[in-house]
Each structure stands twice: as C-alpha cells, then as structure tokens.
Amino acid sequence: MLTVSVKWQKKVFESIEVDTLQPPYVFKAQLYDLSGVPPERQKIMVKGGLLKDDADWSTLGLKNGQKLMMMGTADEILKAPENGPVFMEDLPEEEQAANLGYSAGLVNLGNTCYMNSTMQCLKSVPELKSELSNYQSARTKDVDQTSHMLTVATRELFSELDKSVKAVAPMPFWMVLQKKYPQFAQLHNGNHMQQDAEECWTQMLYTLSQSLKPPSPTEDPDAVKALFGLNLRSRLHCQESSEESSETESVFSLKCHISHEVNHLHEGLKHGLKGELEKTSPALGRTAVYIKESLIDSLPRYLTVQFVRFFWKRESNQKAKILRKVDYPLELDVYDLCSEDLRKKLKAPRQKLRDIEGQKLGLQASAKSSSKGDDVKMTDAEGSSNGSGELSSGDQPGGASSHMTGIYDLVSVLTHKGRSADSGHYVSWVKQESGKWVQYDDANTSLQREEDITKLSGGGDWHMAYIVMYKARLISM
C-alpha cells in the first residue's frame, strides 16, 4: 500500500491509499469519490504520460508520498451550437455587398472617370433604377436602336453594381455609350480622351428620358423628366423697346454661374437665372439686348445644379477652369427662385414642415438635426428611398399624398480635380440610404464624413464640386 497525494485544480487530496495490486481503474474510482470526475475523464499525470486504466503500477515507479496531478472536470462536455454562425466570408457575393452597406466601384477603363462618376451619381437615384427595371427589353418603335441599347446597358450596369463587392468593369456599357455618342470615343495619342462629365451627364439623361417615355403619349411627362426636369418661366425684356415676352422651357439642371460676386451656390443660381441675350427685336427691326429673367415654375424630385466652372479660353484655346470657392449647403431652399404660382403652392407644405420641425424641437430640444427626424415622420415620402428602390405611384411628385416644399437635401456631388475639363480627375460622392457618404473614386470606394462633403467647394487644387444633386424633401398633407 502506498499513499500519494493528488492535486486537482486548486485542491490537493492528501494521503490517498493506492492498492498497487489492483489496476489503476480502482484508483481512479477512488478519485471519483473525491472529485466527482468520472474515471473516463480523469487524466492523471505520471512519469512519461497519462495513467492508463490497465497500466501496471510496478512499471510506473510510484513512490510513497508522491504527488500526482489530475486533470479533468465534471463539467458538461462542449457542444457545438446547432446553428453555427454565418460568416461573411462564406456568403455569396451579393449578400456581402448588402452587408457592406454600399455598392461597388467602377474600374477605370482608360480616362473613363467622367463616365464612372456620372453613373455612380445617377445610380444613387432609386426611382431611376426602378424605372429602368420596368423598362421593356423589347425595343419600342419610337426609340432608336442605340438609345435602346444604352438604356438596357445602364440597367444591366446598375444591377451588376448592386450585386458585386468587387469593382465592376463597365465594359459593355462603355462600348454602347461610345456607339451612341461617338464623341466619347475620341482618341488622343492612341488613348481615349478625358471628357467632360457634364456632357456625359446631360447625354445620359437625354437618352434615358427618350427611351423611358411611356409608350402612349399621355399627359404624364416621361419618367426622367418627372424626376429631374424642371420648368423655367422666363420673362424677356428689351430695355430699348420695352418689349416684353415670356416663354417657358424645360431643363434638366440649373446652372450656377460663377463670377466675382458669387461666393455661394444660391448667389450663383440667381445669377444663372438672369441673363442677357441678343435677339432680333421685332419692334426695332434689328438685334437688341434683351434681359432674360427666369423663375422656376415646377420643381423636380431631384434638383441638379451644374457649377459652370469651365469656359472656353480663346487665348489658350482650351477649356479653362474657374477655381473660385463656391459654398454649397447640405440643405438648399429654392423658394425665392420660384415663380409666384409655385410659391403659392409651396406655402402650405412649407408651413406644415415648419410646424413639424418646430414641434420636434419643442418636444425634444436635443434633436438638432431635423432632417433625420423627418425620415421617420414623412414615411410616405421617404419610403421610396428607404426601400429597395421601388417607386409607388403615390410618391410621384404632385401625387395625392406628398408635396414639394422647395427644400432640398444634398445627395450626391460630382467633383473635378485638375485645371481643365479635358484633363484631371472626376470623382463622385454619394449619400447612401444609411445616411453615410461614400466616395467613389473609380474602383476605390471609401466612407467619408458629412462635414468633408461641404469642403469640396473649390478654391484650391482639391476635388471641387462640378455637379451637385439635391433631393426634394417632401411632405405628406
């Protein structure tokens, strides 16, 4: 009979008698009584390894008073959870994209950053996406072949972007775009030339507005026009002859003219809506200078503003750039650019909006930013942007439930960096549905802070806003 002590966890079982004639299993049973660890889970360290149930004590050279060590627990054995976690790495690509919270970048195919940034900005309009998805694949008569192809290519590109995590190479789209607009296929020294993003933007909208026209010419304007188009009512006034005439035109964007007095977008817009032009005056029988003053007659869902930064410099024979800093706000109010009729229409919704905001500020003084809260209250209006892009008819501007307020929120910025329109680099900055800003620099995407977005206002060699897009804040009545 030997006595040993066994150390188990922090406890020591002193002077346990070992019957060396019995197999070690008996010893383990003794320990079971003491520790509650079932013998099959006991691991007892002896010289040269673990004590086996059928080992021979004599070969182990056990000494009287020796200290042994036991490992083992009576705890429950580890079980793997039935539903293991799902790892992002295992997910198909689309779901990874959904996890990321924003879509992929576009590969630069050789000076195509103007196209990439334009498409990224346009893609951020969910209504446009849904219109595209409703677009019939079969060509209708009144759309020419290339426009149809471009529309389909746009649709394909958008859906591909939504699906992938990695940057997409927009090759098919690029081919179609060149086909439709051969000016984009210009080569210089064997490379594609850098193009003006504004031109691309305008052409794209024009094409889409053509192809997305409802098949039967109804009263409804085409979808693109409904989204981006705005009507201007202009008053032409000739000072010499005191003639006056008025006309209305429909445009897709407002121009922000930059002169020495313009420091702010609002000033630039006003400036842009006032102009002089030479025209044959029927009264005078010769050309005379007319002053043209325009006001907005109808507001779009998405208000596009182009900063007229480029002008043709005759001396140097190139498009030069105005680097002047022009601030633009995250929240734009165009009320004073509207015509009287429109202002009347806007009055009631604006009042309501103010009431809601005032109410909110009154209720919870801490909530400073009102725009966030609006997302919740104005469910109908904002539902379209929160959803996957489906546009319900009720959300149409001028629809039964939602009304324009003349207040717009910044949703995307297309910037240019460089000194001339045909060189430099275009990048787009788009606000996501989550409220986060993402910079799309060709294939690279990165999150940005909101306060950095307003810093793209120019005045240096940093990216500066060229086209900005605002989204209307709607209110249900």
Binding site: K7, M45, M71, E76, L78, M88
Partner: protein, 891 residues
C-alpha cells in the same frame, strides 16, 4: 600669470622649433623678454634655482650632482599635485631637457644616473615627441620604487606608453617582464586612487586582467566590475568572455553573489551558477537567486550540493520553476486595479472614430472574429478571466463555447488555445478549464486545446510534467492540425529545457518521409526551441537531414523557412559554435542555402553586437537580387538580432535601416519594419514610431502589414497612447482591407498586452541579460512575418502565440522573508549610465516615488526609498526579497 604655456618661450624640442618657424622672427624674442619681466619674484627665484640645479647636475662632483638632483626632484614633486596646467618647475626645466638628456648619455651607470633618469622620465611627459616613448624608456632605467609620487598625470602617461610598447614588443616577441613590473605598480596606484577604469584599460592593453584580482578591494570592486561588464559589450571575442570571467571572480571574491550570478547567467555557465549556490550560505539569498534564474527562463535543477535540506530545496526549486509567477502577476494586477476583463471593443475604441468603420454588418466575419480572439487573448493574458472565453458557463446554453464557435475551422484552434493564454502561468486552473476541449470531436478544437496546454505551461515547470503527459500521445495522431497543436505546445512549454524525452518523440517526425511539410516544419521549430542555444549535435543532424530530404517544390513553401530557423535556434548566441553546421548548410539545395546561411549567422551572433557580422549581413543586403531570392529578409532581421544588445548598436542600426529603406529592394523593405520592431521591442521610441507610422501607409501592402505588426511590437504591453491612436486611425483607414485590418487588430492587441503589465523585451536585469527562449519566440514570429500571406494570414495564425515565450510582467514586486508581498516605497526613474563616473552618482533621474508593486518601463530603474529594508539583489526587477535592516531606526 596666465597658466597656459607659451610654446614660443621654450627652446628645446624639435617639435616646438618647427612650430615657431612660422612665427615672425621678431616675435619670440619680444615675448620671451616680456615673459621674464612678467614673472613674479617667486617664480623668478624658482627659475633661477632650477637653472642652477641644471648646471650643478653637470658638475663633475658627485655630491653636488646628487644634491642638485635631489633638489630638482623636490621641486617637481612639490608641484605635481595639480595638473590643470603644466607645473612651473617642469615648464622652467623644459629648455634644459636637451642638455640634461645629452648629459645623461655621458654619465656612467650609477645611482645618480638613475636619479637623473627619473627626472628625465618626468620631463619627457611634456617634452617627448609623439611615439618616442622616452618617458617609459627613462623610467625603465631609473630607480625602482614609488612612481605615484610623481603625480597622477605622469602615471597615466606611462600607462599609455606601456600599452604602445607592449604591442611593439609583442610583435617582436621580446620580453615584457620589466614592463609588467611597472604595470603592477601602476595598477596598484590607480586602484588606490579611484582610477579603476584606467587600471582596467591598462590591463586590457597588456592582456593581463588577472592582476586585477590582487588589487581590488571592498571599496573599489563594484566600480571595477561595473566598468568591466560594460566594457565587455564592446570587446571582440574572446576578450569579452575573459573580462566577464574576471568580473565574476571579483564578485565571488567579495561575496557579491547576485551580481556574480548575473554574469554566470550571461556566460551561460552552469558551473558558475552552481558555484554561486555552493558558496552562498544564506538561504534567503538563494531564494533570490532562484527568482533571478526563473526570470531568465532557463531550466535549472538544484542538487543537494547547492541546497542541502530537502524541504528547502523543494521550496527553491518551486521558485526556479516559476510556480509563483501567476500569483505575483495577479498581485500586481490587483494592486494596479486592472483585474476587470477587457473586451476587444474596449481596445478598438471604435466610438472614437467618426462613423467610418462600418458597423452595420450583420454577419460575423471569421477574419475579424479571429482577430478579436487574439486581441482578447493578448489583452487578458494571465488574468484568468475575460469576456469571451471564460464567461461563466451557463449549463443550459453552454455559452462558454459560444465564442469558440464564432471562429471558423482553423480559427477554432487559435480560439481554444487563447484560453491557455488567458490562464497563462496558472497551470492548475488552466488545465482544468482546457479539459472540456479535449472531449470535442472537432479536430481544430483539440489542436487548440493541446496548444493551450503548452501555452499555460510556458516558462513553468512541474514535477508531474503535465504538458508532456497530455501532449505526448497526440504527436503521432492522424490529423496534422492536431499533431501541430501538440508539437507546438511542447515546443512552447519545454523551451530551453533540453528534454531528451521530447527529442526522442519529435526527432523521428523530422525524418519521416510520410509526414506532411507543415508538421515537419513545426517539429523542427519546437526542437529548436527546446534545445535553444544548446548546440545539440543530434537535433542539428535531424534537422539537416530533414532539410536535405525536401523536394524542390517543398523548399519553395513558405513554411520551409521554419526548418533553417529551428536549426539556427540551436545555436542562438553561441557564435563560433555554429561554424560546422554553417559549413554543412552550404551543401543544401540552392533554394534554401542562402536563407539557411543567413538564419544561422544571425541566430549564432544574436545579441553579441559583433560589428563584423553586422558588416557581413549589410553586405548581403546591399546586393540587388533577381526576383525569387528570399534570403535578404533573414539578413535584415539578423542585423537587428546582432545589434540589439546595447543602446549604441541599436541607434546605429536604426540609422542604417533607414538607408536600406531608401536603397533596398522590395524584399528588404518588407523586412526593415520587422527589424525595427525587434530593435525597439516593448520600447516605443518616438523616432522609430514615426518611421513605422510612415511605412504603415506604404503602397506595398506587405511593407504596410509588417510596419503595423511592428508598431504593435514596439508598443507591446505599454498601452502607449500615441501608438494606440495611430492604430485606431489605421483601423479606419484600412477598414476595407481584411488582411491589413487583421494586422491592425493584432497590433492593437499587442499594445494593450496584459493591459499594459507585460513586456516582450527579451532583455532583463537592467538590459544586461538576454533570455534565449524569449528571443527565440520573437524571432520565430518575425520569420513568420517575412511572408505573412501563407502563414499569419493563412491558416497558421497561431504562430502568433510563440510570443508567449517572451511575455513577462514588467514589474518589481517586493516580498518579505516569507515570500509574501510587502509594500514599500520605491523611487522609479530613468536609468542613468554611471559606468566609470567619479564619486557616487545618482543612478536614476526624474524619479517618482511609488509603493511596490510597481511597473517598470523600458529604460527605467527602481531604487528603494526607505532604509528599513535591504534588497537581496542590487537589480530591482521582478521579484525582490527584502530583509529588514538591523541598523534601521525609526525617526
């Protein structure tokens, strides 16, 4: 009168003549006259007297001669006390040096001639031309006896001339007996006059340090030894060993055992260590020795010669075995109040970043969870509790297993092993907590449990050998992940033990043709760790054969690098001993040959500061290679390994690495951040931090990853706010790149390692000793980092756990005679280099007073702020036993 001697006022001496040549001829005369006029009466008298003596010396009458010589001698001796200027008698005698010298030659041998020789010898101090060594030659024919009476400056000058003469005679193989006699005198003089450094310098020059033993006494041995040990760092082999030997003997002579032990450990001389134990009779002191050995991390068995009593020996062996490390560490943690477990989120501090880091991800990312596993393991290392792995297991849901299953496949290995890290050093509870994983039927979990057992036992020895008993059976299992877990676990827990039993288990794997490459690689690595610095022939043979058996394809695998590394670790710091193996390595396949060469060279000279090897390695890095060669990586790491031993070398190396960043090829640039990380490990120097921060944005992602990991290494265990901030910004900068983000997370975990209580520095005991196992652990990780993608970013991420070998609490914990913690006030401040300084300079500066236990940062030193206790070791690091001061009186 102006004390500066005017060269124009002297006539004799060829040099002076030359000097005056350029001066307009009118000038000297004028000045001469003016000088004479300026002399005070006293000086004038002295001058006239001396001139008289000079004349009389040349007098034929021996009596007159003798009287004149005697007077001259008196004058000189009386004035040599101060040496801030040339003493007046010497100055006035200078014009007569030539005359006297000429007369000396005409004299017949006599006592008088000897007297005159003495005086000439002194005069030669200022007169003798460079390299003539006239002072010495006159001294040798002069009277024997008290040279010190001529003043300190004279003795110093003599010493310098002796050194020159000695080298000359050595080359001519002439006798040096007369010189040595003089050396005896000089050394005796220096040692008595607080000029130990000069005595040591002279003895080193004449290669006879043994003389020192006769001359040291109680008052000067500490300064002498201090100088010797510091000088050793800059001496070429084998002189450095000799110097340390002497210093060991001196310490032993004066019973300054802790210092003697330190040197014995530095020399890695078990005999010396034993001698310290046998010579010392104080049991308490022996306990302190055991703490020192434990900190060094070597395996050491006490026998009855060292400690006679069985119970005492057991108690001491317990200390050597580090069984109390966990307790001490937790005492420190409780005192500093950092017991509360931290989650990875506490470390990431994502809330400080503006909404950049994507937060809305709904699915778990396996990569990010793995990173969190490591962060959690490093941050809560040794605390025994955390918020992921050890949450109180809820029997209904089994929540303790939840985090484990948030890791994917091989990630589960690291997750299971992280439990070992959390329970670090606490073998008893660690093993029982790991037990549940052994019953899993999931191979990666078993592998992790095995590895965890190894980690828990890291640096802890136990009579029952639980690690060997538990892991031994798994080495030959079918699944290679399980095998690797067991092998790596053994390597970590038995590092430095030279355990034959394990060798007999692991060696066969190396030469098993059927074993997969990764198993072989880890077996080689583990053997290298277990036999680190042992130069074991048999292990070397096995690894060499394993290397030779590799096919061409296998040699290209990233893991193959662990084979040469395992081989190199065997020779860690052992310098020339590597040569035979290095010769063999030349026969290897060319794919691995140079890699092996560089690894062996860098390991063998690691921590030696050998300048020649630094040059060799630099030459390797200077080449611009074709693609595919990978040996420059280890060469760059080697530079850091060789140079890391002392501050100057580190600074020089940091500068030369900066050059390499500019001129080196990409493969060199990738290794440079790692080398910087090694040089400043757990020592966040601002300059290095800035360099690494710059590199962390490098366009080459491999450079950036290495720089990020290195940022973690230099800040390891410091909680450095600046590095933490940098890493936080990097985490938002790289939030999209899974690989880089993983590296950032690991680095964040490292910086907050042990919540700031740990260090990775392999140096300890005032940066004097280098723990071989700690260095082995770091070097292994760095080699793995040379090719991140397949190893750390692949499925062998658990090599990160090799760092556990270097993890030590950076604490000073004072204990009383019963080894119970005792809180006393201490001053902690920046260490000051006091080597060779006169008087009793302060050893720390800018100190603050705390009460123990305290944390010591890199470059800090502690001293007791009370006289109530006497520390048993002069090096206040780690565990320090305090003895009550019998002379202490309460005020």
């Amino acid at each position: 009168m102006a004390p500066t001697p005017d060269p124009n006022s002297v006539g004799g001496g060829a040099k002076q003549d030359e000097a005056t040549l350029k001066v307009p001829s009118k000038d000297p005369k004028k000045k001469d006259e003016k000088k004479d006029e300026d002399l005070s009466e006293e000086d004038l008298e002295l001058k006239q007297n001396l001139e008289l003596y000079v004349e009389r010396v040349q007098d034929p009458n021996p009596d007159l001669q003798k009287a004149a010589l005697e007077s001259m001698r008196q004058e000189i001796r009386a004035s040599t006390s101060s040496m801030t200027s040339v003493p007046k008698p010497l100055k006035f005698l200078r014009p007569h040096y030539g005359t006297l010298k000429a007369f000396h030659e005409t004299m017949a041998d006599s006592d008088l001639k000897k007297y005159l020789s003495d005086i000439l010898s002194v005069l030669a101090l200022t007169m003798s031309a460079e390299g003539e060594r006239e002072s010495l030659s006159f001294r040798l024919i002069g009277t024997e006896g008290d040279i010190g009476s001529w003043g300190h400056e004279y003795v110093r000058n003599l010493a310098g001339e002796i050194a020159q003469e000695y080298t000359k005679r050595q080359s001519e193989e002439a006798s040096i007996d007369d010189l040595m006699e003089l050396v005896q005198q000089i050394v005796a003089f220096h040692m008595k006059h607080n000029a130990e450094t000069e005595a040591v310098d002279l003895l080193m020059d004449v290669e006879d340090l043994d003389l020192l033993l006769e001359h040291v006494d109680k008052t000067n041995f500490k300064r002498t030894c201090n100088y010797l040990t510091s000088a050793a760092k800059y001496l070429p082999g084998p002189d450095d060993m000799l110097v340390l030997d002497i210093s060991y003997m001196i310490y032993m002579k004066f019973e300054e055992y802790p210092n003697a032990l330190q040197i014995a450990l530095f020399l890695d001389n078990a005999q010396y260590v034993k001698q310290v134990f046998t010579s010392c009779t104080d049991l308490l002191k022996k306990k302190q020795f055991c703490y020192m050995i434990a900190r060094h991390g070597i395996t050491f068995d006490l026998d009855d010669e060292m400690v006679a009593d069985d119970d005492d020996r057991e108690a001491l062996q317990d200390i050597v075995n580090n069984t109390k490390l966990s307790e001490g560490y937790l005492t420190l943690a409780r005192d500093i109040e950092v017991m509360e477990a931290k989650t990875p989120e506490d470390i990431y501090k994502a809330h400080l970043l503006d909404g950049r880091a994507s937060s809305g991800a709904s699915a778990d990312s396996a990569r990010q969870n793995l990173a969190a596993t490591f962060v959690n393991a490093f941050v809560n290392a040794g605390f025994g509790q955390d918020k992921l792995m050890t949450v109180p297991s809820d029997s209904t849901t089994g929540s303790s297993g939840n985090w484990l299953f948030k890791n994917k496949e091989h990630g589960k290995t690291s997750a299971a092993a992280s439990l070992g890290m959390i329970q670090l050093w606490d073998v008893d509870s660690g093993l029982s907590q790991l037990d549940k994983y052994f019953h899993s039927n999931d191979n990666p979990i078993i592998a992790g449990a095995l590895l965890g057992v190894g980690i828990v036992n890291c640096g802890i020895k136990n009579d029952c050998d639980p690690a060997l008993a538990l892991l031994g059976d798994y080495i030959d299992k079918e699944d290679s992940s399980v095998r690797i877990g067991a092998i790596m676990g053994l390597g970590i827990s038995y590092a430095g033990s030279q355990n034959d039993q394990i060798r007999s288990k692991l060696s066969p794997i190396l030469n098993d043709a059927k074993a997969p490459l990764d198993v072989i690689a880890f077996a080689s690595l583990s053997l290298g760790m277990i036999y680190v610095g042992s130069c074991n022939e048999e292990v070397a043979q096995s690894i060499i054969f394993a290397l030779m058996d590799r096919s061409e394809a296998e040699l290209g695998d990233a893991l193959t690098r662990f084979l040469p590394l395992g081989l190199g670790l065997l020779y860690l710091g052992k310098q020339e001993s590597v040569e035979a193996t290095a010769e063999v390595s030349k026969t290897f396949n060319e794919k691995i040959r140079k890699y092996c060469d560089m690894t062996l060279l860098s390991c063998a000279y690691a921590g030696t500061g050998n300048v020649l090897k630094v040059q060799d390695l630099l030459a390797q890095c200077g080449e611009h290679l074709e693609k595919g060669d990978i040996h420059q990586g280890p060469a760059v790491l080697g530079l850091a390994m060789v140079a890391m031993s002392e501050e100057l070398g580190v600074d020089m190396e940091i500068r030369s690495l900066e050059r390499m960043l500019q001129y080196g090829e990409q493969n060199i640039r990738r290794a440079v951040p790692l080398a910087l990380g090694l040089l400043c490990i757990s020592n966040p120097k601002v300059t290095v931090m800035d360099t690494l921060s710059r590199l962390s944005h490098d366009t080459d992602s491999e450079v950036a990853m290495a720089a990020i990991i290195s940022l973690g290494l230099i800040g390891a265990g410091t909680n450095n706010a600046r590095i933490a901030g940098m890493l936080r910004n990097l985490s938002s900068y790289y939030y999209k790149d899974a690989n880089l983000l993983f590296c950032v997370r690991i680095a964040q975990g490292l910086v907050h390692m042990g919540k700031g209580l740990l260090t990775l520095s392999p140096f300890h005991s005032e940066r004097f000793l280098l723990s071989p196992t700690a260095l082995a652990g770091i070097v292994t990780l760095l080699h793995a980092c040379l090719d991140m993608k397949p190893i750390i970013l692949g499925k062998y991420h658990y090599v990160l756990y090799f760092l556990v070998l270097a993890m030590q609490p950076r604490m000073m914990l004072t204990v009383d005679e019963n080894l119970k913690p005792l809180s006393v006030p201490v001053r902690v401040g920046q260490a000051v280099d006091v080597v060779g300084q006169a008087g009793r300079p302060k050893t720390i500066t800018g100190f603050q007073t705390h009460s123990t236990p305290v944390l010591l940062a890199a470059g800090e030193r502690a001293e007791l702020a009370t006289d109530k206790y006497i520390p048993l070791s002069p090096i206040l690091e780690g565990f320090i036993i305090l003895k009550e001061n019998p002379d202490y009186r309460e005020e």
